[in-house]
Symmetry: C2
DNA sequence: ATCAAGAAAAAATTCGATTTATTTTTTAAT
DNA sequence: ATTAAAAAATAAATCGAATTTTTTCTTGAT
């Protein structure tokens, strides 16, 4: 008998689709029809619907009653709101981490930065950065998450993750070729690392704000 | 032919269950089985499951794969995290509203406070406050939401609403008879109103922090 | 040609049943 | 009496089809 391929659980499908959404695999504004998508994930339409509902709660897809699911359309205002909230949350998380963090945290944060800086300098030196996107994204995420890792609030970290990913999603919605990084991020990340390790809370918050503001501006400037 | 009662849409059911959760109609830690609940809402188990997934995203119910849904158990730490995040968000919203708000906002905020104060003073004067819970809850929500109403960020307001409701849910999970209000809230609300209208951002943020901290403390003190 | 009404198609929603996994109960051996 | 394995019962997860609603297409009157 031919073996049936191992099926994914709905949670696996959820993860896969979520990942697809934040890596720009779906076109902005396009419909997400359970009946169509199910074929890609080998499941029933109602299972697909369940997954899409879960994604809609966190804002990765939009839902309108009797009208189904869509990839959200990115507007300037949406991205500004996402950036503001991410800034608010990341500043607070950094504040708490700087307060609580011990030498072990410093070491982990320095290590995360080291990895990230390595990738960023290699990516800056080259013409086509596309092969770096995936590793860079992962390293950047780990850098920012390590900063918050000893803030003491799981909830805050989770919320930060949602807004971090939503920002990335909206960058890609507008510009599917967006790398997400500018050469300047290298210096910005280093400054954040140093301020945190020096326990300079106010400077760190200021640098985070500038870093995220610059990300936002870079995005707007790409809009020809 | 006998007419079939008008059925609720899944979104209606979602709202109803959400409301039930934040008004203490489900016992902490109890299982939420789609097959059982469906009978109360006249729908299929899979529809119920869909609803529960939606609620789990915002933290109103907990979900574990292959083990179903539960009413969350309230721990001290959870409530502290919820309070901290609500404080962070409400302070930021107040800051922005104070910056943007015009005379119309002031008037609406004063009106919301007037209603709330009226209810609070009547409730304070009486022995059994239970008949006031529903109107008070609504008025308190409107007061806090009006404060944020011109912050310019729909997302922030939505997030605030989630944490506002989660706080209330956890109060009731621990103490099903919790009124949610203390006599002191009357003064605290008034002070917040005045500081906002005086455009004293820093004072307003401080008062919000104290107000929410006091809510939290009142909750802990009830734990015998 | 334009528009509205009605018909057809497509998509969203809901359903009841099947399959799969977990939990509880029973049985049997030590 | 305890424990371990097996069986039964319960609950979770998934499915494919039926139903309802929305959207698109067709037709015919102005």
């Amino acid at each position: 008998m031919e073996t049936a391929e191992n099926r994914m659980s709905s949670t696996d499908i959820y993860q896969t689709v979520r990942n697809g959404l934040i890596t720009g695999r779906f076109e902005a504004g396009s419909k997400l029809k359970p009946e169509i998508l199910r074929k890609n994930y080998d499941c029933a339409a109602s299972t697909m619907r369940e997954v899409l509902f879960r994604l809609s709660c966190d804002g990765f897809v939009s839902f309108e009653e009797q009208r189904g699911f869509k990839v959200p359309v990115s507007t300037q205002n949406t991205l500004e709101e996402i950036t503001s909230l991410r800034t608010l949350i990341e500043q607070e998380g950094a504040r708490l981490s700087i307060e609580n963090g011990d030498i072990d945290w410093e070491a982990r944060f320095a290590a995360a930065h080291h990895k990230l800086a390595h990738i960023e300098s290699r990516a800056t030196a080259v013409n086509d950065v596309s092969p770096f996107i995936d590793v860079w994204s992962q390293a950047e995420w780990e850098f920012h998450d390590t900063l918050l890792s000893v803030c003491g609030s799981k909830m805050l970290r989770q919320l930060h993750r949602t807004f971090y990913d939503r920002f990335r999603q909206h960058q890609l919605l507008r510009d599917p070729d967006s790398m997400g990084f500018r050469p300047e991020t290298l210096d910005e990340h280093e400054a954040i690392l140093k301020s945190a390790i020096n326990r300079d809370t106010e400077l760190c918050c200021k640098l985070i704000k500038e870093h995220l503001h610059n990300n936002l501006m870079a995005y707007f400037n790409q809009l020809v």
